[in-house]
């Protein structure tokens, strides 16, 4: 059985004696990274101390948060980027390498990314919120540009020429007039330089990009199509056992009594009891689950509500816990002056992220240090969870993240990491814990369910002059908008959620936006205006208007008439510094009310696009995922159980559900970069609902949308 390659990383490189900090010098830092030139990629306040960060890092101490990444030019010509971001299919391994290759410049295959290793990469808050392209990419780009400047200065000094006469290309500094060239590797040789990025570093304008902005295939893609890549759930160590956990049959049930004797008697089985955690480890997962089934446990159930009561619970517990997110003008006055007032309530079910790779983790203890490989979006967050659960200092917990089988906001936490670490400690050997699909549905967290109360006032000429929005439980992502509503109150209510809930792709924007953009459509019809014209009439935002027009034009908006069986709809969205407008074409089966989406046109503006093919791939993915939440996905629960905790009962989109997708990448060159893996999901559901209304006159106000005939 193979030892995972990642274990070959220098596990023992960090001293665990924290008193050694004072005696650390840069030598230790470079003994970790190898000789060469290293740039500290600073975030936040400029002027922070790269050297201090390096010393703390070398000593195994957590670095100050000002250092976001290291970029290291090795003596061997390899450029290594150390970043706490992780890869879950959003292809940032590729886009970040493109950013560095653009500025240095050098061949993409000379760039290596070390990602999400809490001992080797600087602290990072997590891979979520579309922050990688917004923050990490420009930071790395600046560092790479600074490295290029420094290498040019070094070469200029060596040759006694003006640095301005030099060029950098393909891993070399070139002096065209004398045809001299020197490799970055040779310039880095023998140096142990730690550099900060000078303030005056200049980067290339997106219009001059030659590597960024291009559709480069997924770096390392071959490992995935051959099955060679090892996800956390695939890792093995010598002497490793598979661990499974005894779970309560219902939420909150208390263990009254347990008998593990039969399990203990089985060959090769280790039963671990650590506080309230009871687990079974065995050489195969099959044997571990057989042993688990032999455990007799009695549980005391506690009352738990059902999904039938959900809306009532969210309203009741949230009504008094209201926060104002945005307030402009005089809402009440404007409402009283409005020509037409309109109110409506919307709801949205809990949904599950359903990453195809369920949570898993492998843990091993060596001399009091626990090392955990797991799939998470927050390696340092999981490290902190482990430190708390195991009462260990920072230096004794290492978390490493192999490229992960997706997350979509659903893998922010370290459940399996903690379970594997506790079982490994109890069993005295490495343990791999891999959740089943049912465990993932039941014990992970959901995208919050939501309730929305909306009220608006229209003026004579079709302007929204009053806007009153109350969202319950869902959070504030996407609760703001890009319309010119002069008088408004946007409020969020914190409710008690019956189910465990957490982050999601674009968070609650998926549902806040559903409520808003459906309601906007209602208002457009009330004002007897075309939904496109109504939106344009109510927004002056240049970028949003451009998306509205681009999507409508590509779609052929208004060029054909909707029928009860074939219709079209539109919705827009603003979140995560990006704008999108989606137009959908749907069909409706008259006998069953089955809604099928056949074509989607999405105009998306997230600033300059780093990798168009991967951007379109992400958009298609969000059409698919958005479609699931719009039409099928809904977590049901009753008597303390998820009643559809299986893929046979929880419908996700499949091949046949996938519409034709056309992307219009707005790609404005003078706007700042923004992430692209979240925003486009938020306008799918309302666009479909609006199309259903146009076809049938029925307004669907619950996600997932069901048309009963």
């Amino acid at each position: 059985m193979n030892r995972p390659d990642t274990l070959m990383a220098p596990i023992q490189a960090h001293p665990t004696d924290s008193s050694a900090v004072g005696s650390m010098d840069r030598r230790r830092f470079f003994s970790l990274l190898g000789g060469g030139i290293c740039f500290a990629v600073l975030v936040g306040t400029p002027g922070s101390q790269a050297a201090d960060a390096a010393l703390r890092f070398a000593a195994g101490k957590r670095n100050p948060p000002q250092v976001g990444a290291w970029i290291h030019i090795g003596e061997n010509g390899l450029v290594t980027i150390y970043t706490g971001k992780v890869e879950l299919g959003q292809n940032i391994r590729t886009s970040l390498a493109q950013a560095v290759a653009e500025e240095l410049p050098l061949a993409l295959d000379s760039i290596h990314l070390v990602m999400g290793d809490t001992w080797l990469t600087p602290y990072d808050v997590g891979t979520f919120g579309s922050l990688t392209t917004l923050q990490m990419s420009p930071q790395l780009r600046r560092a790479a540009a600074a490295a290029r400047q420094l290498l040019m200065e070094l070469a200029a000094k060596e040759w006694g020429v003006n640095p301005a006469t030099l060029e950098a290309k393909e891993g070399q500094i070139v002096h065209p007039t004398s045809n001299r060239r020197i490799a970055y590797a040779d310039l880095a040789k023998g140096k142990e330089w730690l550099e900060e990025i000078p303030a005056e570093t200049s980067m290339k304008h997106p219009q001059t990009w030659t590597v960024s902005g291009k559709s480069i295939p997924k770096i390392g893609g071959e490992a995935f199509v051959t099955g060679r890549h090892r996800y956390a759930s695939d890792l093995k160590l010598p002497g490793m056992l598979y661990g499974v956990i005894l779970r309560p049959p219902t939420f909150g049930a208390k263990l009254r009594s347990v008998n593990t004797e039969a399990a203990k008697a089985l060959l090769g089985v280790v039963v671990v009891r650590d506080g309230d955690l009871i687990g079974v480890c065995a050489p195969t997962e099959f044997a571990a689950r057989e042993a688990l089934d032999s455990i007799q446990a009695e549980w005391e159930p506690v009352p738990h509500p059902s999904d039938q009561e959900l809306v009532e619970i969210l309203r009741k517990t949230g009504v008094d816990r209201e926060e104002m997110v945005q307030q402009d003008g005089e809402l009440q006055t404007a409402l009283s002056q409005a020509k037409t007032q309109h109110t409506a309530s919307y709801t949205a079910a809990y949904i599950a992220h359903t990453p195809l790779e369920p949570r898993s983790a492998l843990a091993v203890w060596e001399e009091g240090v626990v090392t955990v490989w797991t799939g998470t979006q927050r390696p340092f967050g999981v490290q902190e969870e482990l430190m708390r659960a195991l009462e260990l200092p920072y230096e004794k917990v290492r978390v490493m993240i192999p490229d992960t089988g997706s997350g979509y906001g659903g893998k922010h936490t370290g459940e399996t990491a903690i379970e594997a670490a506790r079982l490994a400690k109890g069993a005295g050997c490495p343990v791999n814990v891999r959740w089943t699909r049912q465990e993932e549905f039941t014990w992970a967290y959901c995208r919050p369910a939501g309730v929305f109360d909306l009220r608006a006032g229209l003026s004579e000429d079709g302007k929204v002059i009053a806007w009153d929005f109350h969202g319950y439980n869902i959070g504030t992502a996407g609760i703001r908008h890009t319309y010119d509503f002069p008088n408004q109150e946007i409020k969020h209510h914190r409710s008690d959620s019956p189910l465990r809930q957490g982050s999601y792709r674009c968070l609650g924007a998926t549902t806040n936006n559903f409520a808003r953009e459906s309601f906007i459509d209602e208002l457009a019809h009330l004002a007897k205006m075309d939904p496109l014209a109504f939106r344009l009439h109510n927004t002056s935002n240049k970028r949003y208007r451009a998306c509205l027009q681009a999507a409508a034009e590509r779609f052929g908006w208004g060029t054909w008439k909707a029928t009860p069986e074939r219709s079209y709809g539109m919705a827009g969205g603003f979140e995560k510094n990006g704008y999108n407008v989606t137009c959908v074409e749907i069909t409706i089966e008259p006998d069953t009310g089955k809604i099928e989406v056949v074509r989607v046109v999405m105009a998306f503006d997230n600033g300059p696009v780093v990798n168009p093919a991967h951007m379109e791939n992400q958009i298609e993915g969000m059409v698919s995922m958005g479609l699931g939440g719009a039409l099928f996905e809904e977590i049901r629960f009753q008597d303390g159980k998820i009643t559809n905790a299986r893929l046979s009962r929880y419908r996700v989109p499949r091949f046949r559900d996938m519409p034709a997708v056309e992307c219009v990448l707005m790609n404005p060159q003078d706007e700042p970069l923004a992430g692209g893996g979240e925003n486009p999901i938020i306008s799918i559901a309302p666009a479909i609902g609006n199309a259903v209304f146009l076809a049938t006159g029925k307004r669907l106000r619950h996600m997932p949308l069901k048309l009963t005939v």
Binding site: F286, L356, P358
Partner: protein, 155 residues
């Protein structure tokens, strides 16, 4: 303990296990062929697809004893002499993956389809692939990849 002999990727393995165990766990945990993935354990997602005598089968639903004497191909056995299979190449070209977790199952299902039907229509591809889930939503690209691999002109 029972021993069951199975043939995987041209090699014969005597597996000391009960014949009623699912093939998936044997491949992943005993033979270390981890390219075959667990996704649901009830034949719904296709991540565990392997070829049994050329037919795509969900290995989470196959009992070990039922595949004795049959030729099992996993993703590890697809490419020969380090050269990628045309379907693997086409997946890379079409960018038909994001996280890659469903990819081995998708590729093997596509390989089986093309063997049976070298020139499938788009509809036929969708029919054949309907049992496989890509949660990242690269469905349209996977269809394109299979069309490309078939040497069909992609519309």
């Amino acid at each position: 303990m029972d021993t069951v002999t199975i043939n995987v990727n041209g090699k014969s393995y005597a597996v000391p296990a009960k014949p009623d165990r699912p093939l998936l766990g044997i491949l992943r945990d005993e033979l270390d062929l981890t390219g075959t993935k667990y996704g649901c354990g009830e034949g719904q997602c296709g991540s565990c697809t392997v070829l049994v005598d050329g037919q795509p089968r969900k290995s989470c639903m196959l009992r070990l004893g039922s595949v004795q004497g049959q030729a099992i191909t996993t993703i590890e056995g697809l490419s020969q002499d380090e050269a990628l299979h045309p379907v693997q190449k086409a997946f890379l070209e079409a960018d038909a993956l994001q996280c890659g977790y469903c990819t081995p199952g998708m590729i093997l299902t596509g390989v089986a389809l093309l063997k049976e039907n070298p020139n499938p229509t788009r509809e036929e591809i969708i029919d054949a692939m309907q049992g496989n889930i890509c949660r990242c939503g690269t469905y349209n690209r996977i269809v394109t990849a299979i069309q490309t691999a078939a040497g069909m002109e992609v519309k």
